[in-house]
Every structure is written in structure tokens, then in C-alpha cells.
Symmetry: C2
Subunit: 220 residues, 2 copies
Amino acid sequence: MVQQERARLTREKILLGAADVIRRVGYAKASLGQISETSGVTRGALYFHFGSKLDIAAALVDEQHRITREASEMILATDASALELMMHLCLDLAQRLVADPIVRAGVRLTSDTSTFDSPIGDPFRDWIETFGALATRAQDNGETTATVPPDMAARFIIPAFTGVQLVSDTLTGREDLPGRVREMWEILVRALVAAENLATALQMLDDVFTAPGSDEEAMR
Amino acid sequence: MVQQERARLTREKILLGAADVIRRVGYAKASLGQISETSGVTRGALYFHFGSKLDIAAALVDEQHRITREASEMILATDASALELMMHLCLDLAQRLVADPIVRAGVRLTSDTSTFDSPIGDPFRDWIETFGALATRAQDNGETTATVPPDMAARFIIPAFTGVQLVSDTLTGREDLPGRVREMWEILVRALVAAENLATALQMLDDVFTAPGSDEEAMR
């Protein structure tokens, strides 16, 4: 058991070291030597866990999915309304993209066309499906109008979020990401919510993005 | 003069060959040998024009900027309204991202974090500035409401478009991109346009994205 725990810790050290090297020099230029050095793990131990750089990249993407999936399951289990859940999910992922090196590396590896031979579409499909279900619930419970079909809303919100985090990364290293995601939702609620419910939706947005005990607080 | 023209053609062949190689294997794995072979240009001629792979990447990005800047200047010189211009600019870029190999390669190189040592933010800043000016005009001429500040709209529209093209590329190789950009605008007009002007804006959207003589026709 102690040995198993030690192996798990070594694997984690390698992934964190790899995330750091990839952040600094990019995946293409990252070498196993640098990853071994940065993570403080011998080459032998590194090869015991991973056969190649591509294996490490795949493990980072898997680990990022595990982290974000667990986080979103916790959010989805709360009793927040469907519209509120969509805001929470976006804010939570934005905050992880700022603060969690594994999530940063996983997302970067996924969007970099040079990492894998074929682009990874599954996370986008999963998120679009989750948001499609939430947008349907939001429409059914009267939070949003029927004007924009739920699947169309989901097909836009996920790519829009993807672009917002990418441009924020390019322009400010994601420093302004939570603020940009808030602006995204200020625009989205105006498209999705009926005039008579807009004040409620904007108050909800304010609560999600600034209230104490919000995701922002929980991450500190 | 003949020699100058020949040199220009050779340079163009190299860039098209490089765009093709980068599309197939990605920038990191592209070699000068492959680029020379694919473009049908000798290694000697290739080295006469470009000192390194990075030089070719920089030239592709420059050429993509020239093409899209010229296209957007032509669109901006028409007498379309500010809101219509924003739709036209998005559709035109979407169509070039489907059909023009140089534009595809340039955009891919810019968003790939592995290409250049520091991310290229200037194109995003330029587009956000252009759209900020157009969104201000749209508000001044009453096409859009004052609810969403023009700079906030621009700060969202450009990242949103960036993500829409990226996700469309990942999921369908950009086959559905013009349709997705249309959906993006169907949602945006509902956020930006007053209820009493919505029918006009949706008719405009329909004209831009489907009418004969639109950008879509002009590209064929």
C-alpha cells in the first residue's frame, strides 16, 4: 500500500512537472529530460510510468477531464436552477483554467493541433450535450424563452467559451478570464431570457460571479 | 521583370506547399524537405527565399493578414450599415477559413502555441478594435441598443468567432462553419438589437447569409 501511494505521488509529480515544462516551452519543444529534471523524478522512474512524451500528454488530458468532470458533477448535484448551473459551470472551468496547472496543460494540449494526430472532439461534444440538456431544462422551467432552440444555444455557448478563454490566454495570460466569462453571460442572458425575467437573471449572474461563497471564494 | 515575377511565383508555391504540409502533419512535424517536395521547388530555391521553417511560418501569417485585411477593407468600403458590416466580416472570414489554404494555415499557426515563442495577440486586438468602432456606429445609428456597451460587445464577438471556428474545425473540419457563424449572429442580434428592430435585423442576417450576390456566392 505504501509503495502504491508512493507510485501515485511520483506519477503526480511527473504530470505537474510536465505541465510546467509545456507551459514554458510548448509541447513540441518539451523533452523527457526537462520533464524529469523539473519534476525531480529520475529518468528511470519516469520511464517506469510513461513510455513516451505522447503518453504523458494523453495522461495530462485524461487527468484534466477527471478533474473537470468531478467538479462539474459536484456543481450539477446542487439545487441551482438550470440557467444558474450553466453560469456556475463556466465560471468554475474559467477559475480552474487560471489556477490549476493540470487543467491548463490539458486544455492547451487539446487545442494545440500539433499534439495528437487527430484533433480531440469528445470534450466539446460532451460539454455541448451537457449544456444542451441544461438549456432544455431552462426553457422548460421558463427561465429562458423558446426563441433560441436549446441545442443551438449549447452549440454556441461552448465554442464561445472556448474562444473567450483562448483569446484571454493570448492577450493577458488568462488574468482577465473570469471577468470576460461574466461579460459573455451578460450578453447571453439578453439573448436567451425574456424581458420580464431579465432583472432576475442579471441578479443571478451577479450572485454567481461576485457573491461570497461563490466558486471564486471556494477556489482560494 | 520576368525574373522578379518568377521569384514571386516560386515564393507563392513554397507558401502553398508549406500550408499543405502543415495542414496534414502540423507545424511541429513539418520539415523543409517535405515542404520543398510538396511545393515542387528545389531546396536551393527554398533556401533562397526562406532561411528557416520559422521564416516560412511568419510569412504565412503575414500573407494571411494581408489577404484578410484587404478583404475586410473592401467590405468596409461598401455602404452596408454597421451591423451588416459586422455580419459580412464574420461570414467573409469564415468562408476564407473554409476555402483559402493560406488563411487556414495562418490562423492555425497563430492559435497553435507551439509555433512562436510568444503568442500573437495583434490580430485579436486589431479585430476587437475594428468591431468596437462598428458596434459604436451601430449604437449611434440606432441599429443596436445602448444596453451592451460597444467595447464589451466587441470583446465578446471576436473571441466567440475564434472559438466557433476552432470547434467547427475540430468537429467537422470547418464544413459547418458558415452555418455556425449564422447561428452565432442569430443569438447576438437578440442580445444587441431592441425588440422593435429585431425583425429588420433578422431579415438583414438572412440577406447576408443566404441572398444571391452575398459573400458566399462571390467566393465560388
